[in-house]
């Protein structure tokens, strides 16, 4: 049997791990799939290549399919998220100069940090983010807009250049995915203050995206890639596989990063400041557990709302997180499914058992730092 070729774009970040593992450990091959991973120089390029048919699938920032589907940003197209590739996995840090001004703020104290930043009497805080349509930017806006008086300026910086941008004074602070936060610490240019989940406990970070019409006409290939990635994610989240996972990712030509840059994210041991003890961050990056790969329609709705969508746009966004395909394609391989495809985002403060096809499953906390909840009822 000839393997079906799937060209999948990605940006070399730790959270592309499910794709790399699906390929390197043969989960894709088991599905009769030749998973061809194509590195992309920027999110804009990845978007264009996917939308214009040069890629079949892509590792995408979770707000991108939503933005494109509701017609925001550089290029609109009907793009679907087949599944969530990773939850959380980003860090917020400040330059050494700002860190000195802030004084003692406990790592992960989102509210305390916000107040300390607002108390500075100077110009707007220039925050580097990788892309306008990123969870980084949405969390940054959500977090900073909750306190009046803190002025910020958003500056787009490609992640590999984030540490330099801090060192050269282009930005005062940065919100970036691993390993680039750890790189800034290793280069001693900044201090990490919190992880993304300190603002939203369970934020969908990257998704596996395809064109809507591609998903319709390539049902079988879509099922194969979803199964392969699902198995890879389950493998990645098993604690006993962690060391091996770091080795495989580091050796893979697709990432080419040293193991000590990959390890902090996978182990959840984040070193905030050079030569200091790491902070243990629970669920720093989650691939599989707690239904992490399930594309909740309410997550898409939250993203759309943050992007300023109207009720019609929110419904459109919901439709592009394909929990229907997730159920259809993964039930057959024993994936446990939550009873509903939407939840009240922000409602869970603790690990909570909910109804699932296998009886019950444990969902992880998904609270926001300010305790708000978001309910997006279906339109009748």
């Amino acid at each position: 049997m000839t393997d079906r070729v799937l060209n999948c774009g990605y940006v070399p970040l730790v959270d592309c791990a499910p794709l790399v593992i699906a390929r390197e450990l043969g989960f894709a091959a088991e599905e009769g799939l030749a998973l061809n991973l194509v590195a992309q120089p920027s999110w804009s390029a990845l978007r264009d290549m996917l939308a214009l048919g040069h890629l079949d699938a892509a590792h995408m920032l979770s707000p991108m399919p939503v933005a494109m589907s509701i017609g925001l940003g550089g290029l609109s197209a009907q793009i679907d998220a087949l599944m969530v590739l990773s939850v959380n996995g980003t860090v917020f840090g400040v330059s050494n100069g700002i860190a000195a001004e802030l004084g003692e703020v406990r790592f992960g104290d989102a509210l305390g940090l916000l107040k300390a930043l607002a108390a500075r009497r100077s110009g707007p805080l220039r925050i580097g983010v990788p892309f306008h349509y990123s969870m980084h930017r949405l969390l940054m806006n959500y977090w900073t807009s909750s306190l009046e008086g803190l002025r910020i300026e958003e500056i787009t910086v490609p992640p590999p250049r984030m540490a330099d941008a801090v060192a050269e004074g282009f930005v005062d602070a940065f919100w970036v995915g691993e390993p680039w936060g750890s790189v800034a610490v290793q280069q001693n240019v900044g201090r990490l203050m919190m992880a993304g989940q300190d603002v939203w406990n369970f934020a969908p970070e990257k998704v596996l995206a395809v064109r809507h019409d591609w998903a319709d006409t390539n049902e079988d290939t879509a099922r194969r890639v979803m199964r392969a990635v699902y198995r890879a994610s389950a493998w990645l989240d098993a604690r006993t596989n962690r060391t091996l996972a770091v080795e495989i990712l580091a050796r893979s030509e697709h990432l080419s990063m040293s193991p000590d840059l990959i390890d902090p994210a996978l182990s959840g041991q984040i070193t905030p400041l050079l030569n200091h003890a790491p902070e243990a961050v629970a669920r720093f990056v989650q691939f599989h557990k707690h239904a992490a790969s399930f594309p909740w329609r309410s997550q898409a709705a939250w993203i759309a709302q943050q992007l300023g969508a109207d009720p019609a746009g929110i419904q459109k966004a919901k439709a592009c997180f394909r929990s229907d395909l997730y159920r259809q394609n993964l039930s057959g391989i024993g994936a446990d499914m939550p009873g509903a495809s939407e939840k009240v985002e922000g409602a869970l403060r603790y690990e909570t058992a909910v109804a699932s096809t296998a009886g019950h499953m444990i969902l992880a906390p998904d609270a926001f730092f300010d305790g708000r909840t978001f309910d997006f009822p279906a339109e009748n």
Binding site: P41, S42, W43, S44, A45, D48, M49, A51, L52, H54, G73, G74, L75, S76, P130, F131, H132, E154, I155, T156, V157, P158, P160, R161, F170
Partner: protein
Amino acid sequence: MNRDLRILVVEPDPERVLGIINALTDAGWSDVKALAQISALDRTVREFKPDIVLIDLTNPDRDTLEHISFATETSKRAVALFVDQTDDALTQAALNAGVSAYVVDGLKMERIKSVLETAIARFKVMRQMQSELDAAKQALEDRKTIDRAKGILMRQRTLSEDEAYTLLRKTAMGQNRKVIDVAQALVTAADLLS
């Protein structure tokens, strides 16, 4: 013909910039500006107010450019060319040549078509030259490695140069590998053992 468009080229390599500007001025556009440093992009876009921005598809600064295009406080906004998919052949040609263009909203496709065709042709040539240059560099590197491997064999096994090369080739064929791979392995091993 409309030759009054303001064109901004974002490209760090001075030789490539010169190539693009020459191609555009030869075709009749004179209002062309080049920018190497992305840090000055924001100000340049505001002050120069380009009608079209040309940037290599593989340039990582594209994400920054997009954001600045959205945020620029003018009534006109620059959008990626690919939005306008009315001319699919041109879009695909641009994609294949590796050029992405940002066009200020409201400009008609006919007005920018000739700019793009000029740019596409130029980018194609540059891409070709780049891959030839890369191939030439690689060939030179490979030859150095093979020469070192031959030298090691000549010393260790007192072979002539021809015999050393024959041995390398035979080994490569026997293992179904390339001569350069065998040579590289030998050089690495010799470095480890020395």
